[in-house]
Subunit: 352 residues, 2 copies
C-alpha cells in the first residue's frame, strides 16, 4: 500500500493465473496448454522474423493477420480485432462495450478473470447461477443488463452451450453486447462466429493459446459487427498502438495457413479427452461432459484438494479451485497420451 | 458510433502513431527507429525460442528479464516492472499512479500520447508551457498536482533536462509521483535511475525500441521504489497476466548481455546526429540541441509542411506535427550515415 497509488489500486484483487513452475520433469496439467507444439511452419515463420527488421515497429493494425483471420472465418477484415492474447482482447471489450448503467451478467461458475476485470474497469456486475448440472441457463439471463459474457465451452466446467441456445439468448437480448469467449471451441464445439452477420451485438473471442499451441506467443482475436470492432479499436489505440510484436503476428498468420496440422492436434486432444474420461469414470470419478481440452471431475469419496496435493507429490500438477460449488472438483488439462496414462495410473494407485 | 459502445468510447480521440508504410525503398526517418538492427545474440535468442515450448505460457512475472534489468541498472528486482513496450508501461502508470483529485502535469510540447491516456483513464490534466527555447521549466511545475510526467530528452524537441534539474523537481514535488519517460536517454543523457533510491515518488521508464533496436519486439520497463512497482503490478495483473511473449522476454535478456554492441550503435547514432545537425545548420536550418536519436529543426524561410511533402516525393519520410508552436518544425529521426547524407543532399537540392 502506498499513498502514491491511485485510490482504485488499493481495492484491486488481481487475477492469479495457474502456476508456471520453473522446474522441469513435471506433468503439467494445470493451465490448459496444448500437449503438442505449434506447426513447424509457425516455428519457421518466427525464425524468419529474427532479422534486422526488428529495429522497425510492427504493423500497428496487424493488417495481414486480420486479413488472414477474416479469410479463415469468412468475414470481412473490419470485423476482426486482434490483441495480445484473448485476455487483452477481453479486457478491451470490458472497457469498450460493458461500461453501462446496468450490470454486466456472467455465470457464477466461470472464468475467474471476469470479476477482476469488472473491478479494474469499474463495471458493475451480477452473476447468474448455472444449473445443478453446471449448465448455462439462457433464460436466467433475461434481465436488465449492460452486457453478457461467458466462455463456451464454459471454464472450468468444460460444458458446451449449443449454438441454438446462443441464438435464443441473442433473440431475447438485443440491447446489450453478448460476448462469447470461445477459448476452447475448437475441441468439439460449434463456433458462434457463424452468427455474427445476423446479430450486431454479438462478439466472439478466440485465442491461439490453446488449440493452436501458441500460449507462449500471446495472440487472441475478436470477430463481430464492424461497429463493435471500431469501438474496440478506439480503446486499443488510446492505450497501446502496437500490442503484437513482429514474431507474434507472423506466427499467428502461419498457424492459420497450416489447417492440417491444426486439425490433427485437435483430434488427438479430443481422443485423449475421451480416453481419460473413460479411465477416470472407471475409477469412480464423476466427469462432467467436456467439449474443451480439459475435464472437470470429482470423486464422491475423495476430497479434491487432498487429491491435488497427492498428485503434486507425484509431480503431476492439476488445477484446484477452493471456491463454493466447485471445491470438490479437479480441473485436469488434457496432456499427451502418455501424460494422460500416467495421470490415470497415479490416481488408480492413490485411490487404492 | 454505436449504441453498444461504453459512453467513454464516443469521446476518445485515439493516438495516431507515425506512419508504418508498407512500401519498401523508403528512407524512413519518421518514427525514431534505430538504423542498426539488434545484436546478433538477440536474433539467436529469438530463434532459440522457436520451439515446442511455445505451447506453454511465458513466465507471467518475467523473473529472468526483471533480474537481468535489475543487475544491469544496479537495483533490486522488486524495483523493476516490465511491459509490452513503454507505451503499455506508461498506460499502466496512468492507471496505477496518476488518478488523483489534482490534475496531472506535463509540458505543453511533449509526447502526444499523454493527453490520449489522460482521456482514456479519465485523469484530469494541465499542461505546463515550455520556455521559448523549448526547455522544460522545473519551477513552473511547482503547483498542486496529482502527478508529473515528461520525456527526457523531451519529444519531439530532443531537449535534455539535466539531472540536477530533475533532482530539484523531486525536492519541490514530494506529494505525487514524478514519471521520467527516458525513451531516448541512451543517446546522450544521464539517467534518473541513479536517483530512484533517494526519491520514493520517482518512476523512470525505458523502452528497448530505440537504443536497443527492438521496436519490433515490444518491450519496455519501469524502475522505481518497490511500492510504486507493486501498484503497477496490481494493475497489470488485473488486466493481462502475460503481456510479454517468450521470444520478447528472451530477446530483451540477450540485449542487456551484449553491452558492446549496444554502446557501439548508440555512438554511431550520436555521431550521425552531430553530422546531420552540422549539415542542416549549413543549409540555414535552426536545429534545437538534441540528446535523442532525432533532431527538431526549422528553416526561417521554408514552410515545414511543404518541406515534409517535398521530401516525401523523394521517398524520404520525416514527421511533421500540425500543432501550435511547432508547426514550422520537422522531426527527423537519425538514420544510417548514408540515409542522413541522402536527406542532406535532398534538402540542399530543394532549398536551391
Amino acid at each position: 500500500m502506498s499513498r502514491y497509488w491511485s485510490p482504485l489500486v488499493k481495492s484491486l484483487t488481481p487475477y492469479v493465473p495457474g502456476e508456471q513452475p520453473k522446474i522441469t520433469n513435471l506433468i503439467k496439467l494445470n493451465t490448459n496448454e496444448n500437449p503438442y507444439g505449434p506447426s513447424s511452419k509457425v516455428l519457421e515463420a518466427i525464425r524468419s522474423e529474427a532479422s534486422d527488421n526488428l529495429r522497425l515497429y510492427p504493423d500497428p493494425n496487424a493488417d495481414t493477420l486480420k486479413q488472414t483471420i477474416a479469410d479463415y472465418h469468412s468475414v470481412d477484415k473490419n470485423q476482426v480485432f486482434v490483441g495480445n492474447g484473448s485476455d487483452e482482447v477481453i479486457a478491451i471489450a470490458f472497457q469498450a462495450l460493458f461500461k453501462h448503467p446496468n450490470p454486466l451478467l456472467f455465470p457464477d461458475i466461470t472464468y475467474s478473470f471476469y470479476p477482476v476485470w469488472s473491478d479494474m474497469y469499474q463495471v458493475d456486475y451480477q452473476t447468474v447461477p448455472v444449473t445443478d448440472n453446471f449448465e448455462i441457463d439462457v433464460q436466467a439471463f433475461k434481465q436488465a443488463n449492460g452486457g453478457i459474457i461467458f466462455p463456451n465451452p464454459n471454464a472450468p466446467t468444460g460444458r458446451l452451450l449449443p449454438l441454438d441456445q446462443i441464438k435464443l439468448l441473442l433473440e431475447i437480448n438485443t440491447d446489450s453486447v453478448v460476448v462469447v469467449d470461445e477459448a476452447y471451441i475448437d475441441f468439439g464445439g460449434e463456433s458462434a462466429i457463424a452468427l455474427v452477420n445476423d446479430y450486431p451485438n454479438l462478439l466472439v473471442i478466440h485465442t491461439l493459446s490453446k488449440s493452436r499451441s501458441l500460449a507462449g506467443m500471446r495472440v487472441g482475436f475478436a470477430i463481430g459487427h464492424p461497429d463493435l470492432i471500431e469501438g474496440m479499436e478506439r480503446v486499443k489505440n488510446s492505450f497501446n498502438s502496437y500490442p503484437l510484436d513482429r514474431p507474434a503476428q507472423a506466427a499467428a498468420v502461419a498457424s492459420f495457413l497450416d489447417e492440417e496440422y491444426f486439425q490433427s492436434c485437435c483430434q488427438k486432444v479430443i481422443a485423449s479427452r475421451e480416453s481419460l474420461t473413460e479411465a477416470l469414470t472407471a475409477l469412480g470419478f464423476e466427469v462432467l461432459p467436456s467439449a474443451a481440452n480439459f475435464i472437470f471431475a470429482k470423486h464422491p469419496e475423495h476430497d479434491a484438494e487432498t487429491l491435488a496435493n497427492q498428485l503434486r507429490e507425484r509431480s503431476i500438477i492439476v488445477r484446484y479451485f477452493k471456491k463454493p460449488k466447485i471445491d470438490q472438483f479437479l480441473r485436469i488439462s488434457i496432456g499427451s497420451t502418455e501424460e494422460c496414462e500416467q495421470l490415470a495410473t497415479a490416481l488408480k494407485d492413490m485411490l487404492g
